[in-house]
């Protein structure tokens, strides 16, 4: 028995599930202190996801609150098939998407793009603040796909399911987002 227990704890995913099990069960019993602890455990990471996608502090806070309310109201549906973090993250991402749907998120049509010279020489090094501003400056559709793929670790099939687009649209949007970032980060030579 202890051998099996040790084996489980070697796997980080299973370790997270094991460590959080008691807390989750207390939240299911609607114990306020447990709910607060669960919130504090994941709040910063989830807030970052919201802010990365929405680029607005007020919007990010509203979505974070709605997402956690969904988390606690649907916690009885969580069956430990994924880590608590992954499950909560999916709810947060869905709430961000719903927020954008209300705003009618726009994916850049290829024929609307200005014809710009491709960044022939991408910079060899990057600066944090410039990269951050460049990501913030991306059009919504590009930023969303880039965030989900590069920052949140979803693959294009998962992104296509989340956003209701095709896999090839997801790949195209990601490819274009990267190109635009490189152009924005390439210093202008005179």
């Amino acid at each position: 028995m202890s051998f099996l227990l040790n084996c489980n704890l070697e796997n980080p995913r299973l370790k997270e599930i094991d460590l959080k099990r008691d807390l989750i069960e207390a939240c299911k019993r609607k114990e306020n202190a447990a709910q607060r602890e669960l919130y504090l455990t994941y709040a910063d990471a989830m807030y970052n996801i919201c802010f990365r996608m929405l680029q607005d502090h007020e919007d990010a806070q509203d979505v974070l609150q709605n997402a956690f309310i969904d988390v606690f109201r649907n916690l009885d549906k969580y069956k430990y098939e994924s880590t608590p973090g992954s499950w909560i993250k999916r709810i947060v991402v869905n709430n961000c998407i719903n927020f954008f749907r209300k705003k009618k998120i726009r994916f850049e049509k290829i024929d609307n793009l200005e014809i710009e010279d491709a960044a022939e020489d991408a910079p060899s090094s990057y600066e944090l603040e410039r990269v951050r501003k460049a990501i913030a400056g991306l059009p919504e559709g590009y930023r969303m796909v880039l965030s989900l793929y590069l920052l949140e670790g979803y693959d294009h099939k998962e992104i296509s399911d989340i956003l209701g687009i095709t896999v090839s649209t997801s790949k195209t949007q990601y490819h274009r987002a990267k190109q635009k970032l490189k152009r924005m980060l390439t210093p202008i030579t005179t």
Binding site: A43, Q65, F72, I110, Y126, V131, I135, L151, T166, K171
Partner: protein, 176 residues
């Protein structure tokens, strides 16, 4: 695992520093207040009512269909059976993804994206029609979906061949 380019690697490596935001302290109080207010309970009778309405509509629709089908002239149509469509679809999706990866490494032109977007739109329309279609029409739509994938693959292959041919002729020119 796909190899990341320098920009991607930078973003992934500096993820925490790029976005070091903290959740606002007041957020929990607002969440807690709403959790104390129970959600509006769903009326189970309302759900049962709509299930009953849907069942009646289904019965009426079937009765109407049964009445009208006898009046239509018998037509024999043969459509190719599409056994294991899911498997076929998976095969084409993988082939298209691989071809796109190969192409994007050597080709950076928006033209092909227009064609791919058009094929995406056609695929979406076909899938929508499939949901509403019945009987042999469904198989027709599945055939059209496979044609869509084949067209996509052929397009990507054609562009890839043209790009490679152009590169080859340019390299020959430089060697002269």
């Amino acid at each position: 695992m796909k190899q990341l380019d320098p920009l991607e690697q930078f973003i992934v490596n500096h993820r925490e520093k790029l976005f070091p935001e903290k959740a606002p302290p007041a957020a929990w109080d607002k969440i807690s207040a709403k959790l104390d207010t129970p959600a509006v309970p769903r009326n189970p009778y309302r759900t049962a009512f709509w299930i009953l309405v849907a069942a009646i509509l289904a019965i009426v629709s079937y009765w109407y269909y049964a009445q009208t089908i006898d009046r239509e002239p018998q037509q024999t149509m043969e459509y190719a059976a599409i056994p294991d469509f899911d498997e076929v679809q998976s095969y084409y999706r993988l082939a298209v993804d691989q071809k796109m990866e190969e192409l994007y490494k050597v080709h950076d032109d928006a033209t092909i994206d227009d064609d791919l977007s058009l094929l995406d739109q056609m695929e979406a329309e076909l899938r929508k029609e499939y949901q509403e279609a019945q009987g042999p029409f469904r198989e027709m739509i599945l055939s059209a979906l496979i044609d869509n994938y084949q067209t996509r693959l052929a397009l990507l292959q054609k562009v890839l061949e043209e790009v490679k041919a152009k590169e080859l002729s340019e390299s020959i020119y430089h060697e002269m």
